[in-house]
């Protein structure tokens, strides 16, 4: 097939100059803003409250004056007519063909309606990233996830079909059956959360005597749902366990599939800037962040999503800006290390900013520890404490003092903090199939009424 030779799913959009990209983004932003203003009472009221109308939006500076949308605002508007989406819905109910909802990690789930066109757009965004990661029609792609009300890898499924891959839904099978089916069919690629990918490798070896790197044919793994695939130590563990290339992808139910790592693995995510406008704010002051190297909170607009538009959505994702050019030739901006944390999770401990991803990178870089760990932040009197629970490998009963010493040293270097370290036998800490909850800040729980 002659198109297989193209390194880009969309050779035009993915290589636009910065100036052309910005012109396109501005045109699209104005269009989606006007659409939302004219079709949604929620959006109109929000923008009227600050006196901004579509004709006022002509520059990126104008865009920065537009109020952001937070998840809590979507929650408050939903559960009403047109049921259950309420006033943020921009199309008649009969145009809605897909329902998904957020996981509800931070509160009541948000419902997400989509039209056929939106769903085409979802799979188009995913096709862009899968193609960039080397998926081609010859691939046989296995999706080991529960096909349900969460968006998860649904659009990955349709994008895989759209590319022309043979697409295998590994829905209600248990982990062992999924591994056996992948082996039987010689699947060449798969998509799952990093936590589940590591768990699958563990199950394959322990319960089935299958070494994924030797006995399976998986050569590409697309990870999403949580950081990990761009945390160096986690990526290394997965790649070694599976003998495959591991790629990260970032997205969210309310936003769409906005970021991806390309096959060149630059240690960063590309933002799909033809479909999304990404803005960055200082996590403390809210001021715009534009300089490479700085961290910013991602505020994002899905430029073409129509049923329930996502305009200047506060993603709460913390990212690090880069001005590096990628060797893949795409002009889409890079974010170093992908999503480095959630604004909710990144917290000050003893006055020092702590990102859970940094702890994961240390734990998984140390041989002699399993993939699982747990971080508990608490307060004793006026002093913050951090307890790190780690697991030994199967069969080990005690941690060598050199291992604990190395853990202390590397954590100190990487996070500038001291930890109380507890070691546990293999299998003691919780296992997760979807999004892991390894970071617990008990100070927040105590402060809630």
């Amino acid at each position: 097939m002659k198109n297989d030779g193209s390194p880009y799913w969309n050779p035009y959009l993915e290589t636009l100059s910065r100036e052309e990209l910005q012109t396109l983004q501005l045109k699209k932003f104005k269009r989606i803003f006007t659409w939302a203003y004219e079709h949604s009472r929620f959006h109109r009221a929000l923008y009227d409250s600050v006196g901004i109308r579509p004709e006022d939006v002509n520059t990126f500076e104008d865009i920065r004056r537009i109020p952001k949308v937070e998840k809590s605002m979507m929650r408050s508007v939903q559960g009403k007519e047109p049921y259950p989406y309420g006033d943020a819905l921009c199309v008649p109910l009969e145009e809605v063909t897909e329902f998904r909802q957020t996981s509800g990690t931070t509160g009541r789930p948000v419902y997400q309606p989509d039209t056929w066109q939106d769903w085409e757009w979802w799979s188009e965004c995913w096709a862009t990233l899968l193609w960039a990661q080397g998926y081609r029609p010859i691939d046989r792609v296995f999706l080991p996830f529960g096909y349900n009300i969460f968006v998860a890898f649904w659009a990955g499924h349709y994008a895989s079909e759209k590319i022309g891959c043979e697409t295998i839904p590994g829905g209600v099978l248990d982990t062992k059956s999924r591994i056996l089916k992948m082996q039987e069919l010689r699947a060449t690629a798969m998509m799952a959360t990093p936590t589940y990918v590591l768990g699958m490798a563990d199950t394959a070896i322990r319960s089935l005597g299958i070494d994924p790197s030797r006995d399976l044919s998986i050569k590409k793994i697309t990870c999403a749902g949580e950081p990990g695939a761009l945390i160096p130590a986690t990526k290394k563990r997965i790649e070694e366990a599976w003998g495959a290339k591991v790629f990260d992808h970032a997205g969210a139910t309310e936003i769409g599939a906005w970021g991806f790592e390309c096959a060149d693995q630059p240690g960063a995510l590309h933002i799909n800037e033809a479909m999304f406008l990404a803005e960055f704010e200082d996590p403390d002051t809210g001021e715009p962040v534009t300089e490479a190297g700085r961290y910013g909170r991602l505020v994002i607009t899905a430029l073409d999503r129509i049923a329930q538009p996502c305009i200047r959505f506060d993603s709460k994702d913390l990212v690090q800006l880069s001005d590096e050019k990628c060797s893949c030739g795409r002009t889409y901006r890079l974010l170093t290390g992908g999503v480095v944390g959630r604004a909710d999770d990144i917290t000050k401990v003893k006055g020092v900013l702590l990102a859970p991803a940094a702890i994961e990178d240390v734990v998984r870089s140390i041989e002699g520890l399993s993939d699982e760990y747990e971080v508990i932040v608490d307060k004793k009197g006026d002093v913050d404490t951090i307890t790190l629970k780690v697991e030994l490998l199967e069969g080990a009963s005690e941690a060598p003092s050199s291992l604990i010493e190395r853990l202390h040293t590397e954590l100190r270097v990487k996070t500038n903090l001291g930890y109380k370290i507890e070691t546990y036998p293999y299998g003691s800490l919780p296992r997760y199939e979807v999004k892991a909850r390894r970071f617990k800040d008990l100070r927040k729980q105590r402060s809630q009424p």
Binding site: N10, Y12, L13, L16, L24, T115, W116, Q117, W119, E120, W121, E124, A274, M275, D304
Partner: protein, 54 residues
């Protein structure tokens, strides 16, 4: 043919398909098997337009 001319030619074809799909949608009222498929084709056409920066 240069790239821009090729894109313009593709866009012309897409717009022609869009008009045809609109027409088909209109004449297929009370014939769901055609009307709903025409509508679905329109969603794909919209995506092709977006892919050319429209």
């Amino acid at each position: 043919m240069n790239e821009q001319a090729r894109r313009e030619e593709m866009l012309d074809m897409i717009i022609a398909m869009e008009k045809l799909a609109e027409k088909l949608s209109a004449v297929s009222q009370r014939f769901p098997a055609i009307e709903r498929n025409a509508k679905r084709i329109k969603a794909s056409i919209a995506m092709m337009k977006l892919n050319l920066g429209e």
